[in-house]
Amino acid sequence: MTTLGPTLLPWLVALPLAGAALVPIVARRDARWAGGFTFAVALATTALASVLVAQLASQGPFSADLGGWAAPYGIELHFDRFAAWTMALAALFSFVIPFSWRYLDATLPRERWAPFYALMLLNLGGLLGFSVTGDLFNLFVTMEVVSLSSYALVAVAGRGVAAWAALKYLLLGAVSSLLVLFAVGLLFALTGSLNLADVSVRLAAAEPSGAALLALASLAVAFLVKAALFPLHVWLPDAHAIAPSPVSAVLSGLVVKVGIVGLLRVLQLAAGTGISLEPLNTVLMVLGATAIVMGAFLAIFQDDIKLMLAYSTISNIGYIVLGIGLASPFALIGAFVHVFNHALIKVTLFLAAGAIIHQTGYRTLSDLRGVARRMPQTAAAMAIGAVSIVGLPPTAGFVCKWYIALGAFEADQGGYGFALVFGALFIFVYYVRMLDAFFFRSPVRPEVADAVEAPWSMRAPVLVLAAACLVLGVLGGIPIGFVEPAVVDLLAALGR
């Protein structure tokens, strides 16, 4: 049993990808089968990820050498405590896919269902691969699978506007991918290796050079674009708001985290090299704090609920980046737990918003007044998500805010703690408007006044996720306990 983890690990990536290739085949007879099949694949992937996490918990981190070639000579997949997030990834997809079943009825013609579900699984597979790979070039290729499927998913339902949003996303995304490839080339030229751990060791052994610095800087910039850190966020709001809601949930909750995981890889690469991370950390702190405030500030002016959620993603990415920049144990713990918690909360919010839009046909606050009277459960889920995203207890969002704020004081950067705590409250101004409109006003639109609750296949995912937001607020210690040893190791490697 001891080798179970390494043997199964490659299938975590291969399963959804092979599943994606099968979706159009399954859907030939009846497009509806695509949804069920995709759900089955997502569930199987979740189960596989759970087995791996159980292995991790009992035996510690493990690696798989693909093709049987030992580390620097082949591609290595590495499953450590940070990679445990893959389980959340797969699980959240398992909620988004059943939500899509009925959602697609109104949004997509049947012949495009199969490509849609295939893209979802490709996205999942790419994200899983990106999260577990220990190889630099493989990092690039998996990132391309994620990016390419994301561009298409943005444009899948809309016409011109969506295509334009997707193209903006694509152009910036492609440049950032190119920067990653360039950096991989530089690092290969410097070290002759593509294995992440090996490159790090060899960089440390060599003289610190401008080339290594350039490589790390390109990687950092590229990943910050992917993470949509202010002011590199320009592509995000349109893309996330225009995409169909299940896609918005995936993009906003999960795909932006590619940038964060990538940033983690930059830290791991830099460990031990003698390259000072101070300038990077300062930039991350300043930009992170700015992003928190600006994301919140820009959200206030939105009337479209999905656009507002998109801006709140920018704000929340600011949290995570600030936490990474602070580089103190508590801040890092908070940041990495927020990678997961924000995914949960944002998926909840976008799915709830999607259910409301699907049932009423409206998407702005002024139109959606009084919707809670007709859709109390969905609106309640939305309210829980809103409270959670602002970081108020007793919800999942609070745990991370607490840790990052604590980390700010731990790092003697109390000012950032203030920015974090009050920047987040700023956005609540907006959410209060939303809650007021949903709960305490009378409907102005007949469609809203006569709306009915979403079908169960849409409602159940939303309700379960909202409950999870509350449960993880109280049991916040579980993800924290999981991430803590990994953060300690990382900081030790970084010499802190």
């Binding site: 290739a21 620097p72 070039f137 410097l190 593509l194 401008g210 080339a211």
Partner: protein, 245 residues
């Protein structure tokens, strides 16, 4: 915009010059590129993989997982284009006599000179043979799955341009299309599974002498899958982009 672009370009150029200046000189046989992982591939690659073209060895054997993801990427591109609204505007191919005229009109909007017609027609088989040769010799000489895919794909475009899309589309049997376009990822996954059962490693290739033929077969199957799958995907991409909108 221009000023901004120029300023950005200058900043990027300066940064790159400073960064790249720190690289070891290229072409140095003692540089890290040639002494670390690459050296092992060069020394033992032929023995370990049985492939004489070491680029193919790296692509399929040492770093097969990258290539798996590569075929996934191009499959993603196809699915992405098919998922876009314009792709579905294409009406289902009309059947029967009455539809033929309108079809020809739509397909052959651009009249093609007889010379081009003849050349393409004559060349097509040769292109196909060249592609197959490139594929077959891929593990000895330059060439391989993707190159063949591109060549077959290019042939299909040429045929499509000359005979109309309808004609070219018939080259890919309709019922098998879904299977063929997914051939790359699926065969990769299958070979990975076989390798896993045989060697215990995902995408592992049996290394012992006795299994030489099996190893060879696995490589050929992969190459064929990449070539055929890639060609079908490329052809479909062309047709999707060529679809009237």
């Amino acid at each position: 915009m221009r000023t901004f672009a120029l300023a950005l370009v200058l900043v990027v150029a300066a940064t790159m010059v400073i960064g790249i200046a720190g690289l070891p000189p290229h072409g140095d046989p003692d540089g890290p590129v040639h002494t670390h992982v690459g050296a092992r591939y060069l020394e033992q690659g032929v023995a370990e993989t049985g492939l004489r073209n070491l680029v193919t060895a790296v692509l399929l054997v040492y770093r097969g997982f990258d290539t798996f993801l590569e075929v996934v990427v191009i499959f993603t591109a196809l699915v992405a284009v098919l998922a876009l609204p314009s792709a579905t505007r294409q009406p289902p191919p009309p059947r029967g006599e009455g539809a033929a005229a309108s079809r020809r009109e739509a397909d052959d909007a651009v009249p093609v000179s007889p010379v081009v017609f003849l050349v393409v027609r004559l060349l097509a088989p040769f292109i196909a043979v060249f592609a197959l040769a490139s594929l077959y010799r891929g593990h000895v000489t330059p060439g391989g799955g993707f190159q063949s895919a591109a060549i077959i794909g290019a042939m299909m475009i040429a045929l499509g341009l000359v005979f109309g899309r309808e004609h070219a589309a018939r080259l890919v049997p309709h019922g098998a299309k879904a299977w063929l376009q997914a051939l790359g990822p699926l065969v990769f996954a299958a070979v990975a599974f076989v390798g896993w059962r045989l060697t215990g490693a995902f995408l592992g290739f049996p290394a012992d002498e006795a299994a030489y033929a099996l190893r060879e077969a696995m490589v050929v199957v992969l190459e064929v899958a990449i070539a055929v799958g890639g060609a079908v995907i490329l052809a479909q991409l062309f047709m999707a982009l060529d679809a009237p909108s």
